[in-house]
Homo-oligomer: 430 residues x 2
Amino acid sequence: MKKNINIAIVGLGQIGIYLHNELNLKKKDIEKKTGKKIKIVAVSAKNKNKKRRFSFPKKIFYKDPIKIFENENIDILFECVGLSDGISKQIVELALRKKSHVITPNKALIAKHGDTLSKLAELNRVNLEFEASVAGGIPILRTIKEGLATNKINKVYGILNGTTNYILSEMENINEPFDKVLKKAQILGYAEPGNPKLDLNGFDAFAKVRILSALAFNNKISKSKCIMEGIENIELKDIKIANQLNYRIKLLGISEIINNKLFETVHPCLVKKSSYIGNVNGVMNAVIIEGKPVGESILQGEGAGAGPTSSSLLSDLLSILRGNIKYPFGIASNKRATINTYNKDYYSNSLYLRFEVKDKQGVLSSITNRLSKFKISVKRIIQTPDKKNNRATIVIITHKTTEINVRKCLSNFKNNKNLIKFPTLIRLYN
Amino acid sequence: MKKNINIAIVGLGQIGIYLHNELNLKKKDIEKKTGKKIKIVAVSAKNKNKKRRFSFPKKIFYKDPIKIFENENIDILFECVGLSDGISKQIVELALRKKSHVITPNKALIAKHGDTLSKLAELNRVNLEFEASVAGGIPILRTIKEGLATNKINKVYGILNGTTNYILSEMENINEPFDKVLKKAQILGYAEPGNPKLDLNGFDAFAKVRILSALAFNNKISKSKCIMEGIENIELKDIKIANQLNYRIKLLGISEIINNKLFETVHPCLVKKSSYIGNVNGVMNAVIIEGKPVGESILQGEGAGAGPTSSSLLSDLLSILRGNIKYPFGIASNKRATINTYNKDYYSNSLYLRFEVKDKQGVLSSITNRLSKFKISVKRIIQTPDKKNNRATIVIITHKTTEINVRKCLSNFKNNKNLIKFPTLIRLYN
C-alpha cells in the first residue's frame, strides 16, 4: 500500500461529520501507528449548507457522490448514509469495483446485502469493514473474527440497541410511561426525532443479530423469519410488576445454534435484577459470547452515538492501513455455509402473562383452566384487584412452554368477554 | 507466507499440552480460515514421561529445546515454559533471530523483557504475540491495539488475577478463612500447588498492569516502583465487615495517567456491591477501559485455565497465519515513549482502617485524635466490642487522604500498647 491515502466520506449526518473531524484530529497519531498519511479529498451529502456540529472545507464537497469516483482516486470510502439500498448500496458497490476499501457503520446494508458485497470485495481484493454496525464502540466483530477465532461459539446474545435500553431503564427510573420517555429520548438524541420505529420494533437489533450470527457461525446471512418483537407494547405497569418480582425488562437479541439449527430472535425479556444483563442500563450495549474453549465472554460499552461509532470506524481504518486484507466475514465467501433455521414453534420459555380482567367470580379459574388445558403449568400468580374500577390484574409466571403452545392457548382469549384487553406476554430469559 | 507451517511447542505443562491437543483438533478449521496447513514438528519439556492430560507423539520430543532450531525449520514457536528468564528468554530470542514468529502466554517474560524482545522481532520482521499473557481468554490486548486504536485512553483497570478473585469470592461464599480457601483453590487447580506466592502477592497482576500500560499509553514498559499489595493479609473478618457495609473486597490492578504521569498499582480494594466490578466473582477477570471518544468499555471472561489461554494463543496464531506482520506493542519500538512515574505518595483514597484494640476507656478517642492530627477525617466508625476477650474491633472509613499522610499517621501506631496488632488498611475504590 502506498504512503499517501485518499479518503472520501459519503454522508455527513451525526456520524459522518464527527468522523470527518476525528480523522483530521488524529492524522498524526494515525501516521505514527501505521506510517500512512491520510487525506480527506472528498465529502458528499444531500445538503451542503445544513447546520452541522463541525465544519468541513466546502471545496471538497460533492452533491453527487458518484462523481467523486470520476474525479478522484479514492483509496478508502466511508459510507455513512445509512440506507439498506439506494445510494448507500450504489456507492459501496462502485467503490469496491474501483478497488477502493470500504468502511461503513451501516447495519441495514450489511444485514441485507453483506453476502454479495463481501464477494465483490474479495473479488477486487479490497476490504469491506463494518465494525461500527454492531454495538457502536464495542469491537465485537473483530473479537469474534480474530480474538476468539477457532473457538466453537454456540450462542451470542445481548443488549444490542441503546435507544430501547435507555427507554426501558428510564421508564423504571423516573416512573413515567413509554410515550413520555420516548419524547425525552428524542430530545436527548437517543432516539430518532423523525421516525424511531426501526429501533423500537426490534428491526435494528435484528439486523445486528444477523450480522453476529454470520460471524459467529460462519454462515451466510440468514433470511429466517424468527420472532421479532419490539418494546412498543411494554407498559409502565409491566416494568413495575417485574420490579416487584425482582426482574427487569430488557430487549434482547439472541443468536443460537439449537440442534444444529440456527435460531435468531429479538424480543423483550424478563431478566433477573441480580444477573449481569439485568444491570446493563441506559444507552449501554452488552454482548455475551458462549464458546469453547474460552467459556463465557462479555463485552460492554456505549452502543450508540457519534463518539463510540467513530472509534469503531477508525479501528477499521487502522486495520486497513496496516495492510491487512481480510475476508469481510472472517472466512472466504465460498466457504460460508447455509444453516437451516430452527423451527420457532418449539422455542420454549417460562412466560410472564398479564391479564386485565373484569372483577367477577370465576375469571381466574377460567384462565388457569385454559392454561392447564394446554399443559402450561403455573409457577406463580399475583392477582391485584382494582375495586374502584371493578377490575383486576392477574399476572401469571408459567413454567417452560413452547411458542406454538402458548400461541394456541392465547388465541382462545380473543374476544373473551371477561378480558379487558388481549393478554400481555413477555418471555423470561432462561 | 508459504502454505505449510511448521510449529514447535516448548513447555508441556497444563497450557502447552492443552494447546498441542487443540492445534491438532482445529487443524482443518485453521486451514479453512487461513488457507495454511499447520504441522507440529517438535515439542520440548523437562520431563518426557510425566503424566499429562493429553498424549503427544514421542518421536517429535526434544529434551533440549535449543536443538529444535538446529534440526527443524520452525515457522512459529509457542513458548509455554513461563519463566521470566532462563530457557524461556533464551528460546524466544533464538526463535526471533532465526526469523520464527513467537507466541507466548508468558506475562513475566513480556513484563520484564518485552521492550528488547519486541525490538528483536521488529528487526527480524516477525511477530511476537502475547494476547494470552493478560486476562486469559479475553482478547484485551488486541482490543486495545486494534479495536480501540486511535482512542485516547486515560485509564485501564480491573480484576486481572483469577486465583485471588476466586479466593476472595470463596471466603465470602463459604465463610472460611484465607488458608482453608487457598487449599481448596490448590486442589481445584485455581492456585499453584507448589508456590502460589506470585498470584497472592500481586506480582502476577502487576506484570499484567505493566503490559496493559505499555499498550494503552504507547510507552515503554515501566520499571516504576508503585504500590503492590496482595491479598495475603485479608482476613475473613474484613470480608464480613465489608459485606455489612455493602462492599466487597477485590484485588484491582490499575494503570492510569494522572497529570501526564503514569500511575500503576495493584492492591485490594473495597468496591461497592452494587458496582459492576463488585459482581465479577470467582475465577472471572474483567478489564475496564476509559477512553475518548469510545467512553467506558468493559471486557469480561475467564481469566485463567488452559481453555481460555489456548483460545488466546490460537487467536495469535490465526493473526500470524493471515499474514499480518504487526508491531508487538501496536507501534514501532522507536516511537514508544517513556512516561514519568506519578509520585505514589500523592495517591489518594478513602480508607478502611481496622484496629484491634484492648477494651479500655479512651482508646477510640486516642485513635481519632491521632487521625485528626494528620487531617484524616472520619466518615464512619463501627466499634464492635468482644467483652469475653476484653478487646474490641474498631473500623473506620475515612474521607480521602494521601498515601504519604496515612503512612506517617499509621507509623504512630507501631508499638502502641493499646493495639493488639498493627492496623489493617484497605483502600476504597473511588
